[in-house]
Symmetry: C2
Amino acid sequence: MRIALDAMGSDTNPEPELAAAVEAVKKYGDEIILIGPQEALRARLEGLPGGAQGIRLVDATDSITMQDKGLALALKAKRKGSKTSMAVAMDLVQNGQADAFLSAGNTGGVVVTAYYRLGMLPGVERPAVTGLFPVKGGACVVLDIGANPEVKPEHLLQFAIMGSVYASALLGIARPRVALLSNGEEPGKGNELVKHTYPLLQGSGLNFVGPVEAKEIYGGEADVVVTDGFSGNVFLKTSEAVGKMLIDILREELMGSMRTKIGALLAKPAFGRVRKILDPSEIGAAPLLGVNGLVFKAHGRSDSRAILNGIQTVRQAINADLLGKINLAISNQLHPQQETLDK
Amino acid sequence: MRIALDAMGSDTNPEPELAAAVEAVKKYGDEIILIGPQEALRARLEGLPGGAQGIRLVDATDSITMQDKGLALALKAKRKGSKTSMAVAMDLVQNGQADAFLSAGNTGGVVVTAYYRLGMLPGVERPAVTGLFPVKGGACVVLDIGANPEVKPEHLLQFAIMGSVYASALLGIARPRVALLSNGEEPGKGNELVKHTYPLLQGSGLNFVGPVEAKEIYGGEADVVVTDGFSGNVFLKTSEAVGKMLIDILREELMGSMRTKIGALLAKPAFGRVRKILDPSEIGAAPLLGVNGLVFKAHGRSDSRAILNGIQTVRQAINADLLGKINLAISNQLHPQQETLDK
C-alpha cells in the first residue's frame, strides 16, 4: 500500500505526521508518501529514530492553512500546477501513484481540492464529509457533517448508500441501519428536505429505520445517519462543545477542595472512558465520500497517535476496496435491473 | 398576579403541578389558576398541606397528551369549546382572566393551541419556542428550538428582536449580544437562510455579533442565538443527549471498582454543578414568543421544584411586562421613524 500523508495538516504539523509516518512504516511496512516542503521534512525525519526509511518524500512548497477560505482556497485547490500539499497529494491519487490520501488539515481545503482534482464518482453529485461518532454499543457514521450546507433529497439518498457501504465495509455491519436526522421521530415531523427524503430512503432497498434525533443516535439505534451539512455540522459542533464544557466544569469542581481532589485521584480510572469518548484521536480519520479516490480527514487537533490510527483506518479502506464497493452500490442504484440480474 | 397552570402537563402530572401550586401560593401569595379535571384535582389538593387555599380550579375535561399530533392535535387546539387544559387556559389568557399560562405538556400542543387561541402579535409571523441554555458565565437564549422547521430570514429577524427583549427584560442584560447559528464563523459560511438573514441582522440596530457555532454559544459569547426550528432542535437534542451519555458512562465507570466508588463518594460535591447544568428543573420554564399572550413551557420531566421555578420565571415576565416590551420593539422595527423620534 502506498498512502499519501499530508505533512502540513494538523494544528501542530509536521511533528505528529512525521512521528506517525515513521511508526506506520515500522508497524505495517507500507510505503508512506509524505507531502510537504521536502528539504525541511527530510532534515527533521533524519533526526527521528528509524528516520526516512520506507518514507517517500514528495515536494509541496505551498499549503492550505486554516485561514484559507472562499475564492483564494478554490484557486489554490483548482489551479493546474498548484503546489499545496493537498493538491500534490490528490494528483498522486488521481494518477495512481498513491492508493489513498490522509490529511488533518482544513476540511474545506480537503473537500474543494478533492472535488477539483479527483472529481466525483459517477452518479454522486456532492462530496460528503463523514464523521464517526462513539455511541452506545459502538459507533455511528454521520454524513454530511460539513461539506454541503444545502442539499437535495437525492443527495441524501446518495449519502445513505455511501454511508451504508462504509459501515458495512469498515465497521463490519452486515446490514447497516440507516436513519435520517430529524426534529422528531414521527414521519410528519421534519423540514421539507426530510419530508422529501423520507420516501426516497423508504424505497431505496437500504435498511432504513426512519427519522432519528440525537438521543437515538447516541443510544446506538442507527449505524448510519444522513443529513445536510448544516444540521450535521450543528450536531458535530454541539457534541464537541457540550462534551468539552462538562469536562471543564467537572475538572474545575474536582479541584475545588482537598476532599474532591482526593476523590478525583481515586476515581481517575473511571474518567478514562469519558475522556476516550471525547478524544478525536480515538477515531483517527473518517472519509470524504463521493469523490473518485480514497480521501480521509483526521481531526485538526490530531497527535501522532491519532494520525497513526488514521493510517490504520485508511489501510482498512484500501484493503476492503471501499471505493470500488461504493462505485458498485451507486451504479446498482442507478441501474437497478442489473442488481436484480446479479442476484 | 393570576397565573394559569396546566395541571395535566408534566410526564408525572398532576402531582408536580399540584405541589408547585400550593407552594407558589404560600411563597408569593398569587392566585394560581389550576386547569384540569376539577373534581379529581380538588380531591387531591385537599389532601395536601395548605390545600386548595388561594388556588382557583377551572375545569378542563380533556387534555393534549404526548401522543397527540398532526390533524388531531390541530383540531383539539382550534375547536371552539375545546376542553383541553391548554385550550381552556389560553382562553383565560385571551379574555384577560389570567396574566400568563404555564404548561409542562406537549410542546406542539402549546404552540398550536397558542397560535389558534391567542393569535400572533402584530408584525410577528411565526411563534418561536425559546430555550434558555446554561453557558459559561450565565445563560443563552436560543430560538427557535422546535416550532418552525422552515423559516424565512425575516422570521429570524423577528426572533432576534423578541429574544433580545427577553434577555434584556428577564436576564437583565442591557444590550444583549445577538448571534446567528451557523456552520462556521466566517460571513461566507452558512446555508441560504443564514446568508440572507445576515444582512437583516446587521441592519437591525440590534447588537449583532455575527454567526456562531456551538463552541461560542457554550463559551458564553452570545446572549441570544437565532436559528430555524430544525437546526435549533438539533442543537437542543444533541446537547441533552451528549450530556446524558457522558453522565451515564461516568456513573457506570465510577461504580466499576471499590476504589472508584470511594473516589466518587469523596468527589460527590463536585458532581453537583455538572448535574445542575444538565437538570431542566434549574431553568424552570421558557417562553413561547410571538403569540399575543404570555405563554411559558416547562420541561416534560419537570418535578415540583421545576414547576415552581417556572412560576417564578412567569412572575418575572409579568412584572417586567415582557409582552408589552416585545410588542413595542416589534412595532418600532416596523415603523423605524417612530423609534428615531423617540430618541
